[in-house]
Symmetry: C2
Subunit: 452 residues, 2 copies
């Protein structure tokens, strides 16, 4: 059994001792094409195994295509007495059963990025039988682990449970959150970028068929409100995925973006290899959108431009013992190990040496964006920002990066809610613990922009 | 790959198409002995597959015995430049890296119940190399998935990362929460029962070796404080597990408890079968403690005593249109599918029919405990309480049960934070939606006693 569990399985894969199946190999080849299209050296040590990691993540993340609901529910239906129908509803006949706050993630069919799902499922038992509670989670996960759109996901979970359990009715409410990854352009224009696109969707069958007039829905929603403080049905929208929003600066029609055809067919191949039909209507534009998004991170010489920014026009004469700081600079980056976004905030503190200038916030924010928009690892991003700021202010710099990594929630370990922090300390900060402590104390508490 | 993933694997097991290994079979046999010791019919449909489910949960929950840290870290070390040592610390040489808020669970070696762990890990890279962030989580999980005690768990994670990554130092902080399952006696005595036993433990190596005087610890704890609002080192205690607390009424020396020797050797067999040594000092008393705890749920005829409670000494003459309610009655129960606790609160509402009495809160709380302390499923518990209360008040009763199931967080699906709710409606409540809505509105928001 040890050899079959998920943890061990991943180790095997990463060691490469396992023979890879043709689908995994096909995805690896496609990812190599994408990396080359980004101008990367696929033999570079940091990304040498990225194709395998990405292939594994896609296969794991879409394993729902290989799963059958019948297999999950079979053997998990238990006989349970109800009441005499004339006096009421309870137990295996009529008593509403609800499982709340299941954290899942799914893959957006429009852009191939993972999105987070808080899933609430209820059913009204009939026929004197109930289903094991964990099965409501497992069945929901089968459909989450596919290329999805929130309303279809809710509908598929609902139908599958209705068919599998044959209860009086099933209700599903999903709160979905999709990262709104901005373009570098929109960030530099300093437009007000929302971090998340959110939607609440519902689906019901049987006694929950009619959302507007069902007393069962009233009971169900009352039980959710006990836990879910803010639950409002969102405005329905044709394009909850930010890549399709007409307001987005990344709108293809407006930007006149021309995708590299080799990269586009590589993404098409990935969609095929996970078991989907790339010709399904909703997926037709997905490869181009994914490529367009990836091109955000093309290797550029943008950082060269930074050299001119640290000009010494004015000599700084203030007290050199003051720590200057800019807190909560937002950043967006792309993990080079998994080709998945990570984002968060960066805090910069520095002493300004005689002969150097104080740094305007806009300059620091630009430095952050320039180093963020490429294939990165958080440790390197932290160091590069510290080094660059150091060259502007004379050497005494401290940088703290606080990040949420999509790869930590949407791969095998599924650690939703976890976050990472990295520190770089240069000059005086590396030797003086009290300066470090003073700067760290000044960092405001979490901005709370994480969804789950 | 589809056939190897965790979800599919569980289905296979539950269908029984897989040949079980000798260890799983041995645990199944042992669980049958335990069920018989509890007076249960092991052929009863609800618990027929409980031995297999429990065996699977034990094997999954202690899979760390079969895992090697080397296999996880191998291939996950990446070259990453640092700074010139003369000017500071960053990137692959000296920049502190922290992963926060990893939700894990482990098994208490003292009583075999799962406990929850919020894990924070940091290390200071050296040798120009960093480790993939998810590996900090995976390695921590290897040691969590064993029979543990918090301080040893922290130490083992720390040593393993120090040996595997060879960094300048490793720091581990764990916030552990152990359910304090009370005895029926202590509940009926109405003593003030804390739901959780909590402890904060730390372990450090290298530059984190000295907890009291290390500047590195100061930096690390500052980064945790940004996220962890309340982080105080607990009083060290020899017996964080409630089963060993001398204040607990379940203290064996005081209760003179004599454990059934067949059940004790069955638990010893389980410990052996997961790959542990039952003669390890800390495990010597574990089988007796586990049996003692299980005996809380022995099939009794306690409910018969309830028949005398609903006596009609006074005729009730108040307005029959008033909903009387008792909210947040605590309950404790044992899931018959997994032999794991579930607990939470129960809300009872009723109309009092002419000729019946209002029910004192103590009576309702006793009813709840009587039906809780046995092998149960939440749906049945809800129905049984509703039926019993109904017999006391004349038929118009509504019961809502809100529960946290240990099996939802400590088995394959690991849905920490999820909760379940069930409803039973009798008489007027089953036909009058406005009465249901009025009662549901009156239920206070979550009591927030859940840890993760």
């Amino acid at each position: 059994m040890g050899a079959l569990d998920e943890g061990h399985f991943c180790e095997e894969l990463e060691k490469g001792v396992e023979l890879e199946d043709p689908e995994t190999l096909a995805i690896e080849d496609a990812v190599r094409v994408l990396l080359q299209g980004l101008g990367e050296d696929v033999a570079r040590e940091g990304i040498r195994k990225t194709p395998l990691r990405v292939a594994k993540a896609f296969r794991e993340g879409t394993r729902g295509y290989q799963q059958k609901v019948k297999d999950i529910i079979q053997g998990a239906l238990f006989p349970e007495a109800g009441l005499d129908k004339s006096i009421g509803n309870a137990g295996g006949a009529g008593g509403l059963v609800v499982v709340r706050d299941l954290n899942l993630f799914s893959y957006c069919e429009t852009c191939l990025l993972p999105f987070q799902v808080k899933c609430h499922v209820g059913y009204v038992p009939s026929g004197q039988r109930v289903v094991g509670l964990s099965k409501l989670s497992r069945v929901s996960d089968v459909f989450a682990k596919r290329l999805q759109e929130p309303q279809r996901l809710a509908g598929e979970i609902c139908s599958a449970l209705q068919d599998g359990i044959k209860p009086s009715g099933v209700a599903v409410v999903l709160q979905c959150s999709h990262l709104r990854f901005p373009t570098l352009g929109s960030l530099l224009l300093n437009s007000n970028n929302e971090v998340w696109s959110e939607i609440l969707v519902m689906s019901g069958s049987g006694v929950f068929k009619d959302e507007e007039n069902s007393e069962c829905w009233t009971d169900f929603m009352s039980l959710l409100k006990l836990r879910v403080l803010k639950i409002e049905k969102s405005q329905t929208s044709d394009c909850w995925c930010p890549s399709q929003s007409s307001a987005s600066p990344s709108c293809m029609a407006c930007s006149g973006f021309m995708a590299n055809p080799l990269m586009v067919s590589a993404v098409t191949k990935i969609i095929e290899s996970i078991g989907e039909d790339p010709l399904r209507n909703e997926l037709l534009g997905t490869p181009v959108r994914f490529v367009q998004w990836l091109m955000n991170f093309k290797e550029t010489k943008l950082d060269l431009k930074l050299n001119g920014l640290g000009c010494k026009v004015q000599s700084y004469t203030e007290d050199e013992s003051t720590i200057h700081s800019e807190m909560n600079l937002s950043f967006w980056s792309q993990c080079e190990h998994h080709l998945l976004p990570f984002h968060g905030v960066i805090h910069v503190g520095y002493f300004c040496t005689q002969g150097f200038n104080l740094l305007p916030k806009t300059l620091l924010q630009s430095v952050v964006h320039f180093f963020g928009f490429k294939l990165q690892v958080q440790e390197r991003l932290t160091r590069q920002i510290a080094e660059t700021v150091s060259s502007f202010v004379g050497g005494d710099v401290m940088v703290v990066v606080e990040a949420y990594h999509t790869c930590m929630i949407s791969r095998g370990i599924e650690k939703s809610g976890s976050s990472t922090a990295t520190i770089a300390v240069l000059g005086r900060f590396s030797t003086d613990a009290s300066s470090r402590a003073k700067f760290l104390e000044g960092i405001p508490s979490s901005t709370g922009d994480h969804k789950i």
